[in-house]
Symmetry: C2
Subunit: 252 residues, 2 copies
C-alpha cells in the first residue's frame, strides 16, 4: 500500500473508533473528550468530526457537543434488514430461554477477533446475564467462543489468545475449541468474569461453516453439571433448528 | 490540509458512500457491483471493503457477496437512543395524521444539503406519501425544505438551489423560504414530483434555531387551498408542542 492508501485505511478506522465512543453512557461528546479518549491530536479529531458531520454520522447540537447523526438511522434500517431474525427464529430463542428455566439466550457471530451479539432473549431470573444486541465480547473466552473457534486453525487461535490476560492461553483455548468440535457444544465457567457461566452450540451455514453460536448464560451457581448437560442437549436441538431456518446475516 | 490528510477525508467519505450502496433492493453486493456503482478502481474498492470488514461494517457471506455487517447493530442502538422520539412526541405525530384525515406525517432535520426523515406516522389513505425513517430527501424542494431554510442566508440557499434540475432556482427557493419565515409554515405542490404536495411548520431548538420541519404529505388532488390552510394551522400547533417537548437529536 502507498502512504496515501494506508493513511486512508487508518482514517476510516479512526472514524469508526470515534463513533464507537458514543454510547448510552456518552450520548454526546466534545472535541476535548474525543481527544482524551483516543489520544489523537486536536487537528485530527476536528478533521474527522467535520468529515463525519458531512456524512451525517455526527451532528452538532449547537452547544459544542456532537451526537450520533441522523444518517445512522438509515444504517439502523440496513442493520435491521440484514440481521433482524424472522419471527420463527426469535420464537426459538424465547422457547429456549423458557425451557432453560429463564436463563438469558444470546446468539453470537464472529467479528474479526471478537464476537458480536446479533440477537437475544432476555432472561427472566432476578440475577441474569445481559449482553445487548450489537455488543462486542472477546473471542478468547466463553463457551460461545469455543464454538465459534471449533474449526479455526492454530495460528488464528494463537492470535486471539494473545488478547487474553492469561499466560499460555492459546493451548487452553485450542483444547476447548477442539472439545467443542468433538462434543457439538461447550461450557465455560468464569473464563472472563468470575461467577458467570455459559453453554453454547453451533449454528451452521449452507457450506457447513460455523456461522453463529447459540448460548445460554447465567450465574455459575445455577450451572451445575446436571443442569449444564441438559442445557447442552437443548442448545444442540435449538441450534439445529436455527441452522435449518437459514436466516443469519442476510442469507439468501 | 496535507495530501495524506485529504486522502484520509476522502477515504472516510468513500467508505460511507460504499455502505450507502446497500439498501432494501441491494441487500448484498459484489466487488464488481461496487466498482460499477462508484466508478472506483478495483484496488480501491477491495481496500475499502477490507477495511469495512475489519470494522464489522461489512460482512463476507462466503459466496463472494458482502452484506451490511453486525457492527451496524451497535450503531442502530445508538441511532435509536439519540433519535427515537419519546412516546408523547410519537403520539403527537399520530394525532396530527388523524386530524388531517389520514395523511402521512414526516419529521425532517437538515443534513448538510439534504433533509433526513427522523420520524414518521404512516398515512392511512390508499394513496399515501411514504418516506422511510433515515431516508434523505433533497433540500431544494418541498415545504419541509422551505421551513428548514427559513433562516438560511443567500449563499447557502444558492448552493442548495444548484442541485435543483431547474434554472434560476435560487430566487424561487429564497422567496419560498422567506415566505415560510413570515407566515410560520409553507406549502409546496409538485416541486420535486408531479402530483405530490406538502405542508410544513418549524420545530425550534432551545436557542430559537430551526431544528426540524414537521410535514404533512399527500397527493395534490387532496391538498386544496382550504385543506392546506387547515393543515397549516394544525402543523403550527403540533410543531409548537414538539418544540416544547425538546426531544430532537439527543437534546439534553
Amino acid at each position: 500500500m502507498s502512504e496515501s492508501e494506508s493513511s486512508g485505511v487508518r482514517s476510516v478506522q479512526r472514524a469508526v473508533e470515534l463513533l464507537a465512543l458514543y454510547d448510552a453512557e456518552h450520548p454526546s461528546r466534545t472535541v476535548r473528550e474525543l481527544m482524551d479518549a483516543t489520544g489523537l491530536a486536536k487537528t485530527t479529531v476536528v478533521r474527522l468530526v467535520h468529515t463525519l458531520e458531512q456524512c451525517g454520522l455526527l451532528w452538532s447540537r449547537g452547544d459544542g457537543r456532537t451526537v450520533p447523526g441522523p444518517a445512522l438511522l438509515r444504517w439502523a434500517e440496513l442493520a435491521r434488514s440484514t440481521w433482524q431474525l424472522p419471527e420463527a427464529a426469535l420464537a426459538l430463542l424465547a422457547g429456549l430461554s423458557q425451557a432453560s428455566g429463564g436463563e438469558a439466550v444470546h446468539l453470537y457471530v464472529r467479528q474479526q477477533r471478537a464476537r458480536v451479539c446479533i440477537a437475544r432473549q432476555e432472561g427472566t431470573r432476578t440475577l441474569r446475564h445481559v449482553v445487548l444486541v450489537g455488543a462486542e465480547m472477546p473471542l478468547w473466552s466463553g463457551a460461545a467462543s469455543h464454538v465459534l473457534l471449533s474449526r479455526a486453525d492454530q495460528a488464528d487461535i494463537a492470535a486471539i489468545a494473545r488478547q487474553a490476560p492469561h499466560e499460555n492461553w492459546a493451548r487452553t483455548l485450542a483444547e476447548r475449541a477442539r472439545a467443542a468440535a468433538l462434543t457439538g457444544w461447550s461450557v465455560s465457567h468464569g473464563e472472563r468474569e468470575e461467577g458467570v457461566s455459559g453453554v453454547a452450540a453451533p449454528v451452521f451455514g449452507r457450506d457447513g461453516q460455523v456461522l453463529a453460536a447459540l448460548a445460554l448464560g447465567g450465574p455459575t451457581a445455577r450451572f451445575t453439571e446436571t443442569v449444564v448437560a441438559g442445557f447442552g442437549a437443548l442448545l444442540v436441538d435449538s441450534a439445529r433448528k436455527l441452522t435449518a431456518l437459514d436466516c443469519i446475516g442476510g442469507a439468501g
